[in-house]
């Protein structure tokens, strides 16, 4: 008859003693020489079916062999003194292990429930030593390029030119006075000659001034052809 696999889950690093105690708990027996032998079958069945990592399987084999020795002792009570010692030693180990196992359980319950805190525990920006739990962030050329593009996208466009400041030229009145002054000293003035260094704007305003003077009958204007020399004659 195939023994059913005990419903015991053993972590990779929880050893054979742990398995033995779990089995005893499940079969509701106290750990003693008699009960240990009764657990032999379950233990070996578990070993056969569970995938125990190769690196720790030896420790399970040692325990299994000791359990078999205990079982044998009940059938053939005559053992050598060394074998007797081995069985006693084993029982002692299991009992001792159980004490620490219990203590560990108490620590587990208390773990992190009321921690004592170091200075600046609540301070912001506390320096944390990087641990293995902090994996290297994923960085790729594409991600960097995207981030760079995003940064560039945030740069505001250069401001649009709204208005030009230009030097204000002489006014119509000023230019009018200028021509009147010239004509007070001479009888004729050639318009083009007065405009050699003038800006287009000033030329236009000057022309208006000249037309104004003509309208006021201060001068007469003479021009032989279109775009030809314009001469001012004082009246």
């Amino acid at each position: 008859m195939r023994h059913q696999l005990p419903d015991v889950k053993i972590d990779q690093f929880e050893g054979p003693y742990d398995l033995l105690i779990e089995l005893a708990k499940q079969e509701k027996v106290k750990l003693s020489e008699v009960s240990l032998s009764s657990l032999t079958q379950s233990f070996i069945a578990y070993m056969e079916q569970a995938k125990i990592p190769a690196e720790i399987v030896a420790s399970f084999v040692i325990v299994a062999s000791t359990l078999l020795l205990i079982k044998a002792r009940q059938v053939l009570p005559k053992l050598t003194p060394e074998e007797d010692e081995e069985v006693n030693d084993f029982e002692e180990r299991i009992a001792l292990y159980q004490k620490y196992r219990d203590a560990a359980e108490v620590l587990g319950l208390q773990w992190n429930t009321r921690p004592l805190l170091s200075a600046h525990f609540f301070a912001e920006g506390e320096y944390n030593v990087p641990t293995q739990d902090a994996p290297m962030p994923i960085i790729s050329a594409t991600l960097l390029a995207d981030a760079m593009r995003a940064c560039i996208g945030k740069i505001p466009p250069p401001p649009q030119v709204r208005a030009h400041l230009t030097p204000r030229g002489r006014s119509l009145r000023e230019l009018l006075t200028l021509f009147q002054e010239r004509l007070s000293r001479t009888t004729t003035v050639v318009f083009q000659e007065t405009m050699r260094r003038a800006t287009p704007q000033e030329q236009a305003v000057s022309f208006l001034a000249v037309l104004e003077m003509a309208r006021n009958q201060e001068i007469t204007l003479e021009q032989q052809e279109a775009f030809g020399t314009l001469t001012l004659h004082k009246l």
């Binding site: 972590d11 990779q12 690093f13 929880e14 050893g15 054979p16 003693y17 742990d18 690196e55 720790i56 420790s59 040692i62 325990v63 030693d89 002692e92 180990r93 009992a95 001792l96 292990y97 004490k99 620490y100 196992r101 203590a103 560990a104 359980e105 108490v106 620590l107 587990g108 208390q110 773990w111 992190n112 429930t113 009321r114 921690p115 004592l116 805190l117 170091s118 200075a119 600046h120 525990f121 609540f122 641990t131 293995q132 739990d133």
Partner: protein, 175 residues
């Protein structure tokens, strides 16, 4: 006038983390015995305050007192990383019997504990004490005590029984 205990308190306050006895002796020009006396003095003078001293085999640290731990626990978010059963088992052996060699841990647990020990070292819960020409020993850190809410490993449940268990001593002496 300032006493060694006062200097010690100031150093531990400004350090904000565990400081080794060796460093403290060097910084205060005190002998090992003077330092031990000053630590006792500081510990008793802190007993009516919200602070306490954690002491291990090699280090000491100024922390909040166990009396206010419950009060403070409401403000601190607890570490999500729980310890596995095997890790706790290894840790309790080191706490009760440390400084202890890895071979002795293996004997007591009946299984290879190498990876467990490495994991605990990485989490800063134990430290390795290297002794020339001998197998390394392992001892709990202040961080372990802080997590468990104790200032001293003697406060562990059944400490005297489990730390000097007769059968255990016999077992370890044999190996």
């Amino acid at each position: 006038m300032n006493t060694l205990a006062q200097q010690l308190q100031a150093l531990l306050f400004t350090a904000g983390e565990a400081v080794s006895y060796r460093d403290l002796c060097e910084l205060t020009h005190a002998s090992d015995e003077q330092l031990a006396a000053a630590i006792d003095e500081l510990r008793s003078s802190l007993s009516t305050t919200g602070l306490a001293l954690i002491t291990t085999a090699t280090h000491t640290q100024l922390v909040t007192s166990p009396d206010v731990a419950e009060f403070l626990a409401q403000f601190s978010t607890t570490d999500e990383n729980e310890l596995s059963k095997a890790a706790l088992e290894t840790l309790s052996l080191i706490a009760y019997r440390g400084p202890i060699t890895r071979i002795d841990i293996d004997v007591l647990r009946g299984v290879d504990s190498r990876r467990m020990v490495r994991q605990l070292l990485l989490r800063g819960l134990i430290r390795q004490l290297k002794i020339a020409g001998q197998a390394s020993q392992y001892e709990i850190t202040e961080e372990f005590l802080a997590h468990i809410g104790m200032t001293n490993k003697e406060e562990l449940p059944n400490f005297s029984e489990l730390s000097s268990h007769e059968g255990l001593t016999r077992l370890l002496d044999r190996t």
